[in-house]
Each structure stands twice: as structure tokens, then as C-alpha cells.
């Protein structure tokens, strides 16, 4: 087996295992009460909407396409700006068109991945950071009553980071020609889903 084939085989199996770990249901070995519920709620929240999931994975995909330093600058920018948006939500500062903003983020990020668009790093970071505010605002206003704010925050920041990580790992396929095509296809899918979310938001 050639080195290239070994790497590819390893990578495919790694993805299979990683995705299985992502999609495994909770064991619920211990019934969460009190503060533990806040952490779990926060952890689950980014997964609660396909629009969130696709946009955050798209950030990882685009970062992987752009390579260093964007590959880590974008996943650093997103959580910080998302928290700013969440803070605005907590303080009651309105951000108009939250659902539209989230849908547009999926459209634009999908287009970036589809077109392998390579803007300057600062432009990419501004784009990602701007839309992160919309995602964060949605999270920040949705803490269920009686749960711990810090643990909820920890949960959804960690879950968001993991989604970026999934995007980056998947995005590493761009090193192979077929992978680049697949990545662009994924970008197209995300953009189309973004249009669907936008239609649902305005209809």
C-alpha cells in the first residue's frame, strides 16, 4: 500500500470514528440535576438548529480551505464575537432580523466554500465575526429558567468550538483533488440550505 493510500485510508477511518462519536446519543448514566443541567443544555443548544450547525461547520470548512492562519483565526474569532452577540441578547440590546442573519450566514459561508473564495484574512474574520453576533444573540436569550449561566455558557461555547473542529477536520480533504470537489459540493449544499432557512424566516 502506498504512503498516500495509507494516509487516505487512515483519514477515512478517522472521520468515520469521529463522526460516530459525534452522533452517539448521550448515555444518561447519571440523571443530571441542578447545575449539570445548565451545562448539558448549553452543550445541546448549538445542535438544536440545523442553521446553527451548518453555519458553524461552514466556518471550519472555509478555514480549512484557506489554510493557515485563517484555519485557526476564524475559529477563534467566531466564539468571541458570538459571545458578544450573546451579551447583547442578555442585555436586551436588540439585533434586527436574527433568523434572517443566521440564514444569510449559511448562504454566504456556503458560497465562500463553494467558490473557494480567498479574501484577505481581515475580511474573512470580519465576515465570520459579523455573523457570529447573530448566532450568539439567539443563544444568549434562550437560557432556560433556573439553570446556571456560566455552565450554560461553557456548554454552548464548547459545542460551538467542536462544530468548528468538525468542519476543519472534514475540510482537510481539500488536499486531495476529489476532496476539493466534495468540499465545494458541501459549500453548495450549505448555501442551498441557507436559502431554505431564509425563505422560512421571511415567509
Amino acid at each position: 500500500m502506498t504512503k498516500e493510500l495509507r494516509h487516505r485510508t487512515f483519514f477515512v477511518w478517522f472521520l468515520v470514528v469521529a463522526l460516530n462519536h459525534v452522533w452517539v446519543p448521550f448515555a444518561h448514566a447519571h440523571v443530571e440535576q441542578g447545575q449539570a443541567v445548565g451545562f448539558v443544555t448549553g452543550l445541546e443548544h448549538p445542535w438544536s438548529g440545523l442553521d446553527h450547525i451548518l453555519a458553524m461547520i461552514a466556518v471550519g470548512l472555509w478555514g480549512a480551505q484557506l489554510g493557515n492562519p485563517a484555519m485557526w483565526v476564524l475559529p477563534i474569532t467566531f466564539p468571541i464575537m458570538m459571545s458578544l452577540g450573546a451579551m447583547m441578547g442578555l442585555l436586551g440590546i436588540p439585533v434586527p432580523g436574527i433568523e434572517i442573519g443566521i440564514a444569510v450566514s449559511a448562504i454566504l459561508l456556503g458560497i465562500m466554500v463553494l467558490g473557494e473564495v480567498r479574501p484577505k484574512l481581515i475580511a474573512a474574520a470580519v465576515l465570520v465575526g459579523f455573523f457570529a453576533i447573530f448566532h450568539g444573540h439567539a443563544h444568549g436569550t434562550e437560557l432556560p429558567a433556573g439553570q446556571n449561566g456560566l455552565l450554560y455558557s461553557m456548554g454552548f461555547v464548547i459545542a460551538t468550538g467542536c462544530l468548528h473542529g468538525i468542519g476543519i477536520i472534514i475540510g482537510l480533504v481539500h488536499r486531495w483533488p476529489a476532496g476539493r470537489v466534495a468540499l465545494r459540493g458541501a459549500g453548495a449544499f450549505i448555501a442551498v440550505m441557507g436559502v431554505f432557512f431564509l425563505w422560512r424566516a421571511v415567509a
Binding site: W72, P75, I76, T77, P79, I80, M82, S83, L84, A86, M87, L90, L91, G92, G140, G149, L150, L151, S153, M154, V157, I158, G161
Partner: protein, 194 residues
Amino acid sequence: MLIAVIIPTVILRPSTAAAHLVTTGMGPVYDGIGHLVLTPEDLVPALALALYAGLRGTVPGRRALFFLPLAWLLGGFAGLGASGLPAFPLPALSFLILGVLIAADLRLPTNAFTILVVAIGLVHGFFNGIALKNGPGGLGLVGIMAALFVLVALVAAFVLSLKPPWTRIVVRVAGSWVAAMGMLMIGWFIRGQG
């Protein structure tokens, strides 16, 4: 012969195992260790400080190793004598400051870093002292100090040992998460006040 049997028998006689400490509890020192491990407001900044110390190198790592537990202990003793919590959640600031320092990989001069370590130790120790006043007290603070020493030693050494550039990036991403949590903690506080 008899003495050779009796003496070891007396010395080696087992006492009550107390395997499950339902009636005795774990003791104040272990309660202190447990308090640190189970309190994210303290554990996360301690971890973040150890990560930052590891990123900065061996000298800052050693400074954090010794100054953080000592400052925490001193702050804790001050807290034991205090009444009432400060109005502003100062621990949230340590999340934000440390998170930004790690994410941006900012290089503080060693003395400035030491001052930061001492400040964080004093603040968190003070809050811990208030929390432990009616519980494990001073011995709990000793437990926390020991746990911090071990935590900083392990985490900072681990980060120092990381060689590939992408591993440092993973640490910086973790820092951005900590900064994000800090921002949210401040948001929760302001919302609660409003």
C-alpha cells in the same frame, strides 16, 4: 520469639477502613480540593493561567507554579475574615483577561505576568475564603493550594512540551473559549443587576 510476633502484630494491626466516608466526610483538605475541582469559576481560570504560563515558557511557568498557590492561600485567609461578597464578579475578569492573553498569544514581561498571577490568586482565593468560611476553613485552603500546585505543574509542563505549531494553536483556541465565557459571565451579571 513471642516479642517478634507481638510487636509486628500490634504495629500492623489494621484500623477501621472507612472505605465510604458517609459519616466522616473526606476531611477539610480534600473538601478544599473538591471545591476547586467542582467550581468552574475557579478551575477554569487556574487552568487558563497554567496554559498561558506554558505558552510563555519555563520562567513564567515556575513563577505561576509557586506564586499562584501562595497568593490564593493569602487571599483565602483574607476571605475567611471577610463578610459578604464584593458586588462585581471579579472572577469573570480573570476569564476575560486570561482568555484574551492566550488567544492572542500576547507576551507579557515576566514581572507583569507575575503581578497578574498574584492578582488572580488573591482575588480567587478571597472568594474561596468567603465560600469556605463555614465549612473546611483554613485546611480547605491548604487543599486548594496543593491542588493548584499539581494542576499548574502538570498543565504548564504539558503545554511547554508541545512542539508542533498546530498544538499551540489548539491552546489559543481554548483561550478564545475562556474569553468568550468571561464575556458571558459579565453579561449575566449585568443582566442580573438590571
